[in-house]
């Protein structure tokens, strides 16, 4: 292990900024497990968050996480820095999530159960509870709104859902979303517009 990598590893463990990403990628391409682990740790929280939000199932999100990073591990040697690592990784993750969403559209069996500190709970329940403590009428409204949002999110096409997720929760710019999904910024913008329009229409009574 080189001194530079050792120092960077120590830096990461102590919470300071990590080494240059390209250095990690090149080292991982040479088979360096520590470097690969640093790459995983740099991105895996966001990957898991994206999968959890989109799939709303701990098991599915876990599967996407495993499959995505295994694919990265297998194909990292072919990464040529033509795009950012972030874009490349998100292409893999979004494709996996889209596959899951498409399959689910066919099966129509979306789970809204999430893991909480008190055990598995319905997501709607947690949102409603935290937003309207102590006010039964507000709690009811909040629960209905959450339920309606769930329904609308479920009714979006996988692509609309993905663009909305990447923009709203992941904070990616539309230009980056276009790169990740292999489309133009304009197409991503239209997709986001359709998604928000559907939500506006469906939630008109609530907001």
């Amino acid at each position: 292990m080189t001194i530079q990598r050792e120092a960077a590893l120590a830096g990461n463990l102590s919470g300071t900024a990590g080494a240059d990403e390209a250095t990690w990628i090149r080292a991982a391409q040479q088979g360096d497990q520590d470097a690969f682990e640093q790459l995983v740790r740099a991105y895996d929280q966001n990957v898991l968050r994206l999968a959890m939000n989109l799939l709303r199932s701990v098991d599915d999100a876990h599967d996407v996480y495993q499959e995505a990073f295994l694919r990265v591990y297998k194909n990292l040697h072919s990464f040529r820095f033509d795009c950012t690592f972030h874009t490349w990784l998100y292409r893999i993750v979004t494709n996996l999530c889209l596959d899951h969403l498409r399959k689910r559209k066919v099966r129509r069996e979306e789970s809204t159960v999430i893991e909480t500190a008190e055990g598995p709970k319905d997501r709607i329940q947690t949102v409603a509870e935290e937003s309207a403590e102590g006010d039964p009428q507000r709690a009811l409204m909040s629960r209905q709104l959450s339920q309606r949002i769930q329904e609308v999110l479920g009714s979006l096409t996988p692509r609309e859902r993905m663009v909305f997720e990447l923009r709203h929760y992941q904070g990616l710019r539309l230009k980056s979303i276009g790169e990740v999904l292999g489309t133009t910024e304009e197409a991503a913008k239209n997709c986001l517009f359709r998604a928000t329009q559907k939500m506006r229409h469906a939630l008109g009574d609530f907001v």
Partner: protein, 302 residues
Amino acid sequence: MNCEQATKELSLLLYDELSFEQEEALHQHLEQCGNCRQLLAREKTLHHALDRMEVPVGSDVLTKCRRDLRGRLSARAAGRNRLRQLWSMLARPFAMSWLKPVGALALVAAGFGMSRMMQTPAGALGSRTAEPVAMQVRYLQPDPASGNVRIVLDETRQRVMTGSLEDAAIQQVLLSAAKESSDPGLRVVSMDMLKNRAQSAVVRRALLQAVQIDVNPGVRMKALEGLKSYGSDPEARKVLARVLLTDDNPGVRIQAIDILAQSHGAENAGVFQELLETESNNYVRLRSQKALRDMNASVETF
């Protein structure tokens, strides 16, 4: 700009995706249009409601994902190394073409030799074979002329080995059981026998590997017992730091804290501080805080 265009751009405004000119034009329109201002207020409410729908990612889920991934990657790497070793072992003697027939003969001879050795009642280590305990028919070939049949069988035989724990062959088998057995009970017992032999680099490597990838917390705990005196060893320290930050079992994390704390290494402070940022288990947090206080380090990161 008219109301239809403005409505279309409201959500893009909130997402900060409009150009300077577009945003200027929209703001000018909003100043004059009460309806669109109302629509913007509704759009903001919708955004706020959507913000609350984000699914929280628990640290336990992340920890499990990381551990499972590490296990799968290690299994892949181990399998590839084994294949590579086997291949180079097999390929080396046959590198020169004139040696190929000699190699083939050698393999046949080795096969005969192995089969004779397997039939020997007692080996150098006091090993002995028994009748087959499992048998599977691999291939059948009837011979209509003679009326005989040729059967190829895969047989599993039990073999008993007896020897000292110091014996390299015994250690090799224990290491193999600790790493590869599908029975967690067997892995725990193997680890228990090996844990006092961590001065051997091979055993220490097996303990470190088990701590990181074994799915059974009992095995990981046993492996950690063997690493008690190695908290200051750089390789062990690195692995223990990872375990501390990623293992989903609080008992394992506590044991990792104890080992790192015993080594009194100031470099561990960063790990304990990082742990405090993500740790959800109160007792683990307390132990980590105590370890930091014992080394006169701050319990906060700055």
